[in-house]
């Protein structure tokens, strides 16, 4: 009897070892390799940049604390310089020769759309947190892509709607001349027109423009009540700063920064930024959990508080790793399917889900930038003005034109 039991135990043990071996074989190269790709040195470098690498590392460490899978995880990073050709070359090289399984962050919509294509072709996984274009879950949606953080539809329906509701019914757009600006302008114009407002004109400026005075004069001449800034990062900062100089706000026109990050507010200073209405899905000072995480982040990032992109990278990587563990594979297509199957739960965005079109949904906040005298110090910048529930914050599933929804 004991003999038999011993034998059974040995057999079970052997079977389990074999199973474990099989499981390990499902992870390509024996290691889950994550590539953080973003603008490391240009105008968007503070939004993502090296901070995203810090966030990804934190996600891996926090995952390993609770995970029993014993996965070997490695993180690499690269600068895409906001150029689609550089982005897709890096993605190909990562996948073909370095065994990268998943790419995360990738701000700059034009680059994100290019990388989206490469990843789909190669059957890997893409967790995009940095780019804004809603096309990633619309006509360019892919079974290999999760769009985690925000998109142009959400921004338009946050800030855009709030501004129209307070009487800003005629608009002039200052648009960054590439995929992101065009998408943001299109989605915001739709919101404005739906609410009975009118778009009086627009001007498209090259990415990373220094001087906006010429464009601002055109906006001023349009007599529109609202000047919508469909740009980001350094471009938004310079537009807002120079609008103040040309007396645009004193002249009765209102600026609507459609995509403003906390790092931009930090760069502008509260004196210039006060009163701006901003839509974001994360702010470090929302609750105890976000505060705790952000403090840990800041300690490792030279005292700088996280942007919403950093929070997105952390939560996206965490959920990806959970899906790898649950699905026992780092195959891109299978893991992304698993990410959609598992409900999301993390300290920064709370509970949520990844929809079939790849859209991650969570509540979104409408913030107003504090006056200098209301702020207690650096990074104490926002009042929460409204919380938009997850189901209203993002474009309804059937309106995006994503092919995955129909099937």
């Amino acid at each position: 009897m004991t003999m038999k039991r011993k034998l059974t135990a040995t057999l079970v043990g052997a079977a389990m070892a074999a199973l474990a071996g099989a499981a390990a074989a499902e992870v390509s190269g024996g290691v889950v390799k994550i590539g953080v790709m973003n603008d490391m040195s240009g105008l968007y470098a503070d939004i993502g940049g090296p901070g995203s690498v810090v966030a990804a590392n934190m996600a891996v460490e926090d995952f390993q604390k609770t995970s029993k899978a014993g996965l070997k995880i490695e993180i690499v990073s690269a600068d895409h310089q906001n150029k689609p050709d550089v982005g897709s070359t890096v993605a190909r090289q990562w996948i073909d020769t370095e065994g990268v399984d998943m790419i995360v962050d990738v701000p700059t919509s034009s680059v994100a759309l290019a990388v989206n294509q490469v990843i789909r072709e190669k059957g890997k996984a893409f967790v995009n947190t940095g780019a804004a274009t809603a096309d990633l879950t619309g006509k360019a949606c892919s079974p290999n892509t999760v769009h985690w953080l925000y998109d142009t539809w959400m921004l338009a329906n946050g800030t855009g709607k709030a501004v129209v509701e307070t009487g800003g019914d005629t608009w002039f757009f200052l648009t960054a001349d590439y995929a992101f600006g065009h998408a943001l302008e299109r989605d915001t114009a739709a919101v404005v027109e739906k609410a009975g407002g009118k778009v009086l004109g627009k001007v498209r400026h090259p990415l990373a423009t220094q001087d906006f005075s010429s464009f601002l004069l055109q906006a001023q001449a349009s007599k529109a009540k609202v000047i919508g800034l469909a740009n980001a990062g350094g471009d938004t900062i310079n537009s807002i700063k120079q609008a103040a100089e040309f007396g645009i706000v004193q002249g009765g026109q209102k600026l609507a920064g459609l995509l403003v990050f906390i790092t931009d507010v930090h760069g502008l200073g509260l004196k210039t930024a006060q009163g701006l209405q901003i839509t974001e899905s994360f702010y470090w000072d929302l609750n105890d959990q976000t505060r705790e995480w952000s403090k840990r982040f800041a300690e490792r990032h030279g005292g700088k508080m996280p942007s919403m992109d950093h929070a997105g990278v952390y939560a996206g990587v965490l959920h990806y790793l959970k899906a790898v563990e649950a699905g026992n594979t780092d195959d891109g297509t299978k893991t992304v399917a698993k990410m959609k199957e598992l409900p999301t739960d993390d300290p920064l965005f709370g509970k949520g889900e990844v929809r079939v079109d790849g859209r991650k949904v969570h509540p979104v906040y409408l913030f107003e930038v504090k006056k200098p005298e209301e702020s207690k110090g650096p990074y104490d910048y926002y009042h929460v003005r409204a919380t938009i529930p997850a189901e209203q914050a993002f474009r309804p599933l059937n309106e995006g034109g994503c092919e995955l929804v129909k099937s």
Binding site: H205, A208, S214, F246
Partner: protein, 294 residues
Amino acid sequence: MEIFGIPTQALFGQLLIGLINGSFYALLSLGLAVIFGLLNIINFTHGAQYMMGAFAAYLLLNKAGLGYWWALLLAPIIVGFTGVLIERFMLKRLYNLDHLYGLLLTFGVALIIQGLFRNEYGASGLPYQMPPQLTGGTNLGFMFLPNYRAWVIIASLVVCLGTWFVIERTKLGSYLRAATENPQLVQSFGINVPRMITLTYGFGVGLAALAGVMAAPIYQVSPQMGADLIIVVFAVVVIGGMGSILGSIITGFGLGLIEGLTKVFYPEASNTVIFVIMAIVLLFKPAGLFGTQK
């Protein structure tokens, strides 16, 4: 009244704006022209030095409590001094070599400087307030002209013409020009040519820093500010004719105007129009509009 569908009033506004941007081009390309004309060095660090000027203003204000007017005086001296060090320890060794080596060295130095500033201050940049004496603006009827921008045009014109005058019309300038023609001969007259060259480089760098201080209240003080501008400024210098002082001033203002008009008629092309002009000019006048073939 309208011209090509644009009201004349708006057109005047845009021309004035073009002139303001031209002031920056002129100031920066002037420094480049002085350095190239007298040292034969293509100073790719110029953009980084412009950025350092803006940062010097920011640091003087926040660390030493010295405001804009002090910065206007001190930042060029401080940054000019760093230029002197670069010339003394690095550039000096390259004078006998091909232009390419100077270009590579200065480009590398620029990347290092920008990287250091980005590590320390981030990419979004820092705010710098306008001096209180120059806030507000004047309504010219056809546009609202911020006082600060008016000041930029005037200051830039004065500095540009002053520099041109010193180099082309004074004894000191004649020494400088002679030293570039034949350094040995000038040296034999008892003039310390190496020191003169060092100081010239310092002066050119100081001009970049001055432009940086003037730019600080308008643009974000950011590590990237020079890198974005320098390529355009090089195009300006090439169009004007490498090393031609007057050429760089006139071309700087002129291209500012053309760029301003492009921003009205076809904004999408506003960052390429200067390069198109450069290509055309090089086709017909390879030495640039005001350059002389050596």
